[in-house]
């Protein structure tokens, strides 16, 4: 498989064409839109919790490339059912793996279900930001920087 075919494998294209968790999120304020500075892509993200404090559902409104939309779509499946601390930890590990950091970044992604499809991103440094956008948005939704009033 060429680098290109690994980047755009069928599962990525499927998530791009039919993104899970996609929604209109007009209620998310402008200040919480995440942008990719290299291309102006934007992503809004909203986390809904169950009565047990676990993540029940993640919704996102993505305007971006196949890689960023697919990554957001996969995120919704990967974090459902996690407590916030687990989701934050996963986000940190995914971002590090996308940057090719850690002992075995490819092995980490391949051991995480559909996220395996993101393993091809590391071969394209310019696309790491695309794949990371949703995960960064999740981090700031779960752990807002000090002083941020989320109005919840």
């Amino acid at each position: 498989m060429s680098d290109f075919d690994e980047l755009y494998q069928e599962i990525i294209l499927d998530h791009y064409r039919r993104p899970r968790g996609a929604a209109r999120l007009d209620e998310v304020p402008e200040g919480e839109i995440h942008e990719n500075p290299t291309c102006g892509d934007s992503l809004k993200l909203k986390v809904e919790f169950g009565p047990d404090g676990r993540i029940a559902r993640v919704l996102h409104e993505s305007r971006g490339c196949a890689i960023s939309v697919a990554s957001a779509s996969m995120l919704t499946g990967a974090v459902a059912g996690l407590v916030p601390a687990e989701a934050l930890s996963l986000a940190g590990e995914v971002e590090a793996a996308l940057r090719g950091e850690g002992d075995d970044p490819r092995g980490f992604l391949e051991g995480n279900g559909e996220l395996a499809a993101l393993a091809g991103v590391a071969a394209f440094p310019a696309r790491v930001k695309c794949a990371s956008l949703a995960w960064r948005a999740l981090e700031s939704a779960l752990a807002p920087p000090p002083g941020t009033d989320r109005g919840s």
Binding site: F4, R17, C39, D41, C65, C130
Partner: protein, 422 residues
């Protein structure tokens, strides 16, 4: 002490160039990178151009045969380096129809505009003043003024563009009505819409109302005749690396009388006449604006690039690229689902587009795999994209070596690309 400044000769009257049209396939052979990769189509010259052998040779020769610091040593090698460096300044001056003492070396267009803002702007603008920019400026034409406006308290105004990508000149009257506009910053060739703006008309209008005109000529100097006097510019900026020259070198041209009144913006060696511990006096033009050891080889390389452009003939280049661009616009417009950004009356050699259902990043990645290099993103012109309702676009841009065959390959790959992602 400074070497004598060669004065730029007045522009040679342009005679019709009766040589045969340029052949891009032949010119391709003058670019070592392209010659070594016959199947690679480089369609990103608006970002930076590939370098012809003549420029690479000039850089190499300078370091091998003439390298020394300039304006300092008195030994023959230092004189040789200074002569090469100042000779390059003279060639830039001739190329622009200017005087050598009006040519200030910078790192590129961005630094040139920052120089105008930080030197002329800081000394001249304050509350009650306005700077008029256009809605199609590159970030380099916007941000330096935003920074200074926040500090000095003047107003920024914008001349919008219409659906075709033409500036709405009929709005100028109202924008100037209160007499506050002191400077107009205008991009000569838009790097997204392709529009060649009528700088002459805007300059005449501004001058009648006492405002100065700064022209960002980064996208036009490599492609057509740019003469500072006939444009009516007061300041003009361009980059070496977009004009077949090296990166890291660029030019600010300004009218001599203006440069005389402007304070230095960076302090250091070479820009001073005498230095006491507490106070210094400034060197003559243009050295007042050139602190520290400059990019000597870069200047020599840029001059080689301009010589190379002149050897091809600037009118022949403009004609060849006009015909190639018209062909490209026709081929691209025929791709189903493709929308060109802007349809200006006069278009520089580039075409930005939106391919329905495919993000520009994915377009560029797909084309890259096919050996076609295009740019994707906002091209440092986010406000232009916002105005068009887009976050980003893909852009193909052309140069003297671009062939119709490459345009055909691009159009065909775009059809496959849309099928792949839908």
């Amino acid at each position: 002490m400074s070497a004598p400044i060669p004065r730029g000769a007045p522009e040679t009257p342009s005679r019709p160039d009766d040589r045969p049209p340029l052949d891009p396939a032949v010119l391709r052979g003058e670019f070592p990178l392209l010659a070594a990769n016959p199947d690679f189509a480089y369609l990103d010259s608006a970002a930076t151009t590939q370098k012809p052998g003549a420029v690479l040779d000039a850089l190499d020769r300078f370091y091998r045969e003439s390298n020394a610091n300039v304006h300092r040593g008195l030994y023959p090698l230092a004189e040789k380096a200074t002569a090469a460096y100042e000779g390059a300044r003279g060639e830039v001056a001739r190329f622009l129809g200017a005087l050598a003492r009006e040519v200030v070396w910078t790192r590129g267009t961005t630094e040139s505009i920052n120089l105008v803002a930080q030197s002329w702007g800081r000394a001249s603008l304050g509350p009650g003043d306005a700077v008029l920019l256009t809605g199609m400026e590159h970030h380099a034409g916007l941000v330096p003024w935003q920074i200074l406006a926040a500090e000095r308290g003047f107003e920024l105004r914008f001349l919008p563009f219409d659906a075709r990508g033409e500036l709405e000149l009929e709005r100028l009257e109202a924008l100037f009505e209160d007499g506050r506009v002191r400077l107009v910053g205008v991009v000569h060739g838009s790097n997204v819409l392709g529009t060649i703006n009528p700088v002459e008309r805007i300059a005449a209008f501004a001058h009648e109302r006492g405002a100065l005109v700064l022209v960002d000529a980064a996208q036009t100097v490599p492609h057509r005749r740019v003469d500072v006097r006939s444009l009516g510019a007061d300041f003009l900026a361009f980059s070496g690396h977009k004009a077949y020259g090296p990166t890291g070198i660029g030019v600010l041209w300004a009218r001599e009388a203006l440069l005389e009144t402007m304070p230095p913006w960076q302090g250091g060696g070479d820009m001073i006449l005498s230095v006491r511990l507490e106070k210094s006096t400034w060197n003559e033009l243009p050295y007042k604006f050139e602190a520290g050891t400059p990019d000597i080889a870069g200047a020599v390389g840029l001059a080689a690039a301009l010589r190379w452009l002149d050897s091809l003939g600037r009118d022949r280049i403009a004609e060849a690229e006009r015909s190639l661009t018209a062909y490209a616009v026709g081929r691209l417009a025929a791709v189903e689902g493709l929308r060109l950004l802007g349809e200006p009356d006069e278009r520089g050699p580039l075409a930005a587009f939106d391919l329905e259902g495919v993000h520009p990043h994915d377009v560029a990645q797909f084309l890259g795999k096919e050996g076609l290099a295009v740019r994707s993103g906002h091209h440092c012109a986010q406000p232009v994209h916002r105005e068009l309702g887009l976050a980003a676009s893909a852009r193909a841009s052309f140069a003297v070596h671009t062939t119709r065959d490459e345009i055909d390959r691009l159009a065909e790959a775009l059809v496959r690309c849309r099928r792949y992602f839908s």
